[in-house]
């Protein structure tokens, strides 16, 4: 199958006077519609890798291809557009806009991309809210929701533009184990239903094992890469 994400010879070095190399000549590809997990100790470079894939950070050397296109020479605007249309993000600290309601947060990527919201799109936003189980609280301000609810809003927001890829950095990092389970079930459902490619960073091996592929990063290099046969 085609690789929707291809990382070629990526190095990442932080600092100018005291240089800290976080990633060492990394090469990895991710197949379309796959559900991948990345594990590793803190400081291993897994978040840096995810941020580089998500174009939130830039590699010191090497190149990243998203859907066949190199992101190396894209302008800031082109990158913003790529993020808006192709990529969805879920972070550990959900990052909702506290000034807006849940449903408005979900609609935000759409408004940033296109401006006006059609009836169908609004309908889809409501569907997504139902899908993540937030029908009751969708008009609450983001701050007036529990952590798990906020995370689910962030997931609905990541889905709103129908992105081909969703990148999640410890999406359940600050949730209790029951909620963690619910959120993972949700992500798997999305993967099946919308054919979305997932890359999820987690420190929870039980969760990681549910993925189609587990990649372990250690000291900035790939230590382990296990594909399960489905």
């Amino acid at each position: 199958m085609d690789n929707i994400i291809q990382v070629n010879n990526v190095d990442k070095i932080y600092g100018k006077t005291i240089k800290t190399q976080v990633l060492f000549d990394l090469n990895i590809g991710f197949e379309k519609e796959s559900f991948n997990s990345i594990i590793g100790q803190s400081g291993s470079g897994k978040s840096t890798l995810l941020n580089i894939i998500g174009t939130l950070d830039t590699p010191t050397n090497g190149e990243v291809f998203i859907a066949g296109k190199s992101t190396k020479n894209m302008t800031k605007n082109q990158l913003a557009e790529l993020r808006g249309k192709t990529l969805g993000f879920i972070f550990q600290f959900h990052y909702l806009l506290p000034e807006f309601t849940a449903i408005e947060n979900v609609l935000m990527p759409l408004r940033i991309n296109g401006g006006k919201i059609s009836k169908e799109q609004l309908g889809r936003a409501h569907e997504l809210m139902d899908f993540v189980g937030l029908t009751e609280v969708k008009d609450n301000l983001a701050n007036n929701m529990s952590g798990g609810q906020q995370q689910r809003v962030a997931i609905a927001r990541a889905l709103m533009n129908n992105p081909e890829i969703i990148l999640a950095d410890e999406p359940t990092g600050n949730l209790d184990s029951d909620t963690t389970e619910t959120v993972y079930e949700l992500l798997r459902d999305i993967n099946k239903k919308f054919k979305t490619t997932f890359i999820i960073i987690t420190h929870d091996r039980r969760i990681a094992e549910k993925a189609d592929r587990i990649i372990e990063i250690k000291d900035g290099r790939i230590n382990l890469d296990i594909k399960k046969n489905i």
Binding site: N51, L56, K76, A80, G84, Q92, M108, I112, R157, N161
Partner: protein, 380 residues
């Protein structure tokens, strides 16, 4: 629209901060409105008392003028000329019991001169002359000479002779120099007294914009020709004019500095907002907002603050003005300084506030485009 909406939400979410910055702008604008109205009012009342009821442009000739009717018709149509009247003036003296007091006998076409001098308003007793050999006399001279309306007095004109006239009324110009000097009569009486029917000694006029008097005077001069001499109040009151100009420029200075402090205030508060909202900007950038749109959020904030501040400022300024005219009054209950409320000026002040608030937000707006998503995500 999206930046505007986000800006609005940002402003609403930190309401206390928004209110204080809007108040800051409002105070600035209200000072502008108040100072502007105060200085405008001061200028106006100064102009009014000094030259309001006098001839602002005057035409004289070495001899008396006979063509005054046609000259009047010519110059009344000049742009800026409001009213044109004429008078036959002659110095003389008033004789009472052998005592002689110097006077200026002024023969007015009372109807035309009314527009310049507002004579009716200044009448305190009796009426203005309507019959031959009637005169109106200034209150100061009237009291000094212990006269009464209906008295007859002798007026002596050098080289012409004496005439007995009747006092028909008493006026008060509120200017001692005029009240002790002018004897107002009608044109016919003075012409008859001097034996110069159909002649006058000066054409007087008022203009719409008193500060344009010099320019209008030169138009008048072009019209009437070189045989006439045209003077205007500015030539004769250079000091008053420079006083007025100094007032005007000091008002401008105050307004410029108020605007600068408003701009600095907004720009520093908005700079803080960028830092406060950097997390939100990071999120927006992660979901695809472009730097330009992100900058517009802060420009919109400046714009919204400007609009709110301008509205608040105009209201506050009008309130200040109202309080000043109500509480700062002289013993008669009149305002110490009559304020001049000019809608155009207030609109300009409000507009300047909106523009400067928007300009003040440019630096924070540029700063917002430097917010790095990765920094925001890393710092949780």
């Amino acid at each position: 629209m999206l930046p505007l909406q986000i800006a609005y939400r940002f402003l609403r979410s930190s309401l206390g901060q928004t209110i204080s910055i809007v108040l800051g702008i409002s105070v600035g604008v209200s000072v502008q409105v108040f100072i502007g109205s105060l200085i405008g009012g001061l200028q106006d009342s100064l102009v009014q008392t000094t030259i309001g009821n006098s001839s602002q442009i005057t035409i004289v000739q070495e001899e008396n003028i006979t063509e005054y009717q046609s000259i009047r018709e010519d110059i009344i149509n000049i742009d800026g000329v409001e009213t044109v009247a004429y008078a036959l003036d002659i110095p003389g003296s008033i004789i009472i019991d052998e005592d002689s007091t110097p006077i200026l006998l002024r023969g007015f076409d009372l109807e035309l001169s009314e527009d310049i001098y507002e004579l009716q308003e200044k009448l305190v007793e009796g009426k203005y002359p309507s019959e031959l050999n009637e005169i109106a006399i200034g209150i100061d001279m009237f009291e000094e000479l212990s006269l009464s309306v209906g008295d007859t007095v002798t007026i002596d004109i050098p080289l012409v002779g004496s005439e007995i006239v009747t006092i028909s009324g008493v006026y008060d110009f509120n200017v001692a120099q005029i009240n002790t000097l002018w004897i107002i009569s009608d044109l016919n009486t003075v012409q008859t007294m001097l034996g110069v029917p159909g002649e006058i000694s000066k054409i007087e006029m008022q203009v719409g914009d008193v500060f344009e008097a010099a320019n209008i005077a030169s138009l008048v001069y072009e019209q009437v020709g070189a045989e006439y001499e045209v003077t205007n109040w500015i030539d004769q009151n250079q000091e008053l004019l420079s006083g007025l100009q100094a007032q005007g420029s000091s008002s401008l200075m105050i307004q410029v500095f108020v605007t600068i402090s408003v701009v600095l205030g907004i720009s520093s508060v908005l700079a803080i907002t960028v830092i406060q909202k950097s997390k939100q900007i990071g999120i927006l950038k992660a979901v695809g907002i472009k730097d330009r749109t992100a900058s517009f959020i802060f420009l919109s904030q400046g714009f919204l603050l400007g609009i709110l501040g301008a509205i608040g400022g105009v209201l506050l300024g009008l309130l200040l003005t109202y309080m000043f005219t109500t509480f700062a009054v002289d013993p008669d209950g009149n305002p110490v300084v009559p304020l001049l409320i000019e809608p155009t000026f207030i609109m300009i002040s409000a507009f300047v506030a909106i523009i400067s608030a928007s300009i003040a937000s440019i630096i924070p707006a540029r700063k917002s485009s430097k917010v790095s998503i990765i920094e925001v995500i890393k710092n949780g």
